[in-house]
């Protein structure tokens, strides 16, 4: 298959995915669409941050990308090829190109395996990546690359701190030379001084290796630091997307505006009394999404149209796409 340089590494087209739930012991089975029509793309060597609150479907997107969950409809294209129709063999080869780094480095490393065993495991499963006689040298090289002592390859995960363990996870992900790493809240459990180290490491690896990141997080500060582009997710759909600084400087969707105003930042000591945009209540359940615009029950701009007509994700003159009938610059004083 010919590969064009402009083909994104990852492309999701109208992805719908979710879970089957049974309500009550004898209740009907019903499908819950945690992801309700998501399209996005990640270019080679690029970082796309998928940001949203709990239950917005961002981790379901990750599971679908990793082929851990079969989408109900839509496409997951890797290098232009739709993986949803792939055979097991093809899928296995493809999986090597997409790796995952989780939130919890404690849970994702087998405590009975040494660092060397953890890293070489994938080479055992996918023969042909690294020849056996090169394993020791490769392990040492990988450890060095992620800032760990190459002499510690025979140690076990519990002998490392949380930040060091996350470095082991990153080394393991790199061992199969992936083109895309899905980072699911990969720095959320780390202390801030260590978090900054890991972010710097990921950035350096991207420059050196050209790996792309689909970076899933709830932390709006991390997003601004780390992302080339942002997709803001709310209740299974993307409500706004664009280049990071554009979104942060001129958010066009009311949900993005509320999120950014609510995110506490170091600079906020200057205006402690300034009132952020406060949304009422909690996000609605994906079990029973609201009609029309899914954000309308919490939005301060809701009009009749929002209750019936679902807004499409398009550019309404703000320079980037936003899924709001009335997308536009933030007008002050809609604090509730």
């Amino acid at each position: 298959m010919e590969r064009q340089s402009t083909t994104p590494v990852l492309e999701l087209v109208d992805l719908v995915a979710g879970y089957r739930l049974r309500q009550g012991l004898f209740g009907r089975r019903r499908d819950v669409h945690a992801v309700a029509g998501v399209s996005l793309s990640v270019g080679a060597g690029e970082t796309l941050c998928l940001v949203g609150e709990s239950g917005c479907g961002k981790s379901t997107v990750a599971r679908t990308v990793l082929s851990l969950l079969r989408p109900s409809s839509g496409e997951v294209r890797f290098d232009g090829a739709d993986v949803t129709g792939m055979s097991r063999r093809e899928l296995r080869a493809m999986r090597r190109q997409v790796q995952l780094v989780f939130q919890d480095p404690y849970a994702s490393l087998n405590p009975r395996m040494t660092v060397r065993e953890l890293i070489t495991e994938a080479w055992r499963i996918h023969p042909g990546i690294v020849e056996r006689e090169r394993w020791d040298a490769e392990v040492a090289g990988l450890l060095e690359r992620v800032g760990l002592n190459p002499g510690h390859a025979s140690r076990y995960p519990h002998q490392f701190s949380g930040g060091q363990r996350q470095r082991i996870c990153i080394a393991r992900a790199l061992s199969v030379r992936p083109r895309l790493i899905v980072c699911d809240e990969a720095v959320s459990a780390l202390d801030v001084s260590i978090q900054a180290q890991i972010l710097a490491l990921l950035k350096r690896l991207q420059e050196e290796l050209g790996v792309a990141y689909l970076f899933i997080t709830h932390d709006l500060g991390v997003v601004r630091q780390f992302a080339d582009r942002v997709a803001v997710m709310h209740l299974g759909t993307i409500v706004e997307t664009g280049e990071t600084e554009r979104i942060y400087e001129s958010p066009a969707h009311p949900y993005t505006q509320a999120l950014l105003s609510a995110a506490p930042s170091v600079e906020d000591w200057r205006e402690q009394e300034s009132e952020e945009i406060l949304l009422h209540g909690d996000a609605p359940s994906p079990l029973d999404p609201p009609s029309g615009c899914r954000f309308h029950p919490r939005c301060w701009m809701t009009r009749d149209r929002c209750r019936t007509e679902e807004p499409a994700l398009t550019d309404r003159g703000t320079g980037h796409p936003a899924a709001c009938h009335y997308a536009g610059p933030l007008v002050s004083a809609h604090t509730s």
Partner: protein
């Protein structure tokens, strides 16, 4: 004039480890103090020691805790228990594990009135509904009959606040109160805490998040490896930290506000409490470290009116911070 709560020289031993080593702070009515630090800094143990709620392996090794003039550490267990709830209260990060899943929320809020005020069931429930309304739980009369799992994370934290404030205590200690919450819900809870503070409540917020502290507290104590390394008002410390660790934390905190600022990590890892480095415990990670820092442990000393730092070169750090002024806004 003495403060409402005055902690001085507090030391806590945890197992064989000196987990908190000589921490002092004070809080006044209507004021919020933040204790900031990363995991293992001793910030939570310090506040648990104040309330006499230390885990079994831990004990207060030194120091005093004066509450409104009396020594809390000298109190009998049942006297302290009476004070908790009546005068001092605490909320935690995870409200779900603090609530009984088998009892209605209204019953659990009402428990304070039944046990401490001798109210009957009906009267306690009426009080509980009032307390729930006060912390912003909508439709409290109906929601009082629901169980904790029927509440969202934000609403559960409101329930915990209602329970903590039921007997109108004068001090609320909040240990990472919004860490488990979504950002839009966090904003709601922080606004509620600010309102309570304006009504005269004294508060201690324990947090790893400098942004949360910036939004809620007037003064701050920064802890590292069991020690207070810096203290002062938020308005003094934030623009120009007087300790290299504070400076490093500020630089490492990613900001949603300021796109121009690049986060800078702090090198190295926090020390193992059972084998602390000699001299200043921060010296292996400190860009300011010199020979003296490897051998001589700095003590927390006044570096400006109302400000203290445990760094030999605090004045130099101060000058650097003021020069950098990572403000922007």
């Amino acid at each position: 004039m003495s403060a409402l709560l005055e902690v001085s020289g507090l030391a806590v031993a945890f197992g064989g480890v000196r987990a908190v080593r000589g921490v002092s702070f004070s809080v006044d009515e209507g004021q919020t103090l933040a204790i900031v630090g990363e995991s293992g800094s001793g910030k939570s143990l310090s506040s648990l020691a104040v309330l006499g709620l230390l885990p079994a392996q831990a004990r207060v090794a030194a120091g005093s805790v004066r509450w409104d003039g009396q020594d809390l550490l000298a109190l009998e267990a049942d006297e302290l228990r009476r004070l908790r709830g009546e005068e001092l209260a605490m909320i935690f990060q995870d409200p779900l594990s603090a609530l009984n899943p088998a009892l209605t929320v209204g019953y659990q809020v009402g428990e304070m009135y039944r046990r401490r005020r001798g109210f009957g069931r009906e009267q306690a429930k009426r009080q509980a509904i009032e307390a729930m309304t006060e912390v912003g739980i909508p439709d409290a009369a109906r929601r009082a009959d629901a169980y904790p799992h029927e509440f969202s994370g934000g609403m559960r934290q409101r329930v915990m606040i209602a329970i903590a404030l039921a007997l109108r205590p004068r001090l609320l200690i909040a240990d990472e109160p919004t860490t488990a919450l979504d950002v839009t819900v966090q904003a709601q809870i922080l606004r509620l805490l600010r309102r309570l503070q304006r009504d005269g409540l004294a508060m201690i917020i324990i947090s790893h998040d400098l942004g949360v502290v910036a939004r809620t507290a007037q003064s701050v104590v920064v802890m590292y490896a069991g020690q207070a390394v810096e203290s002062g008002t938020v308005a003094d410390v934030y623009p120009a930290p007087a300790h290299p660790y504070t400076l490093g934390l500020m630089a490492a905190s990613p900001s949603a506000r300021d796109g121009g600022r690049q986060v800078r990590p702090i090198d190295g890892y926090p020390p193992d409490l059972s084998s602390l480095p000699g001299g200043c415990t921060f010296h292996p990670r400190c860009p300011f470290a010199r020979e003296r820092c490897r051998t001589e442990e700095p003590t927390l000393r006044q570096v400006a009116p109302g400000r203290a730092s445990a760094c030999h070169y605090a004045e130099e750090v101060l000058a650097r911070g003021a020069a950098v002024d990572h403000a922007g806004a």
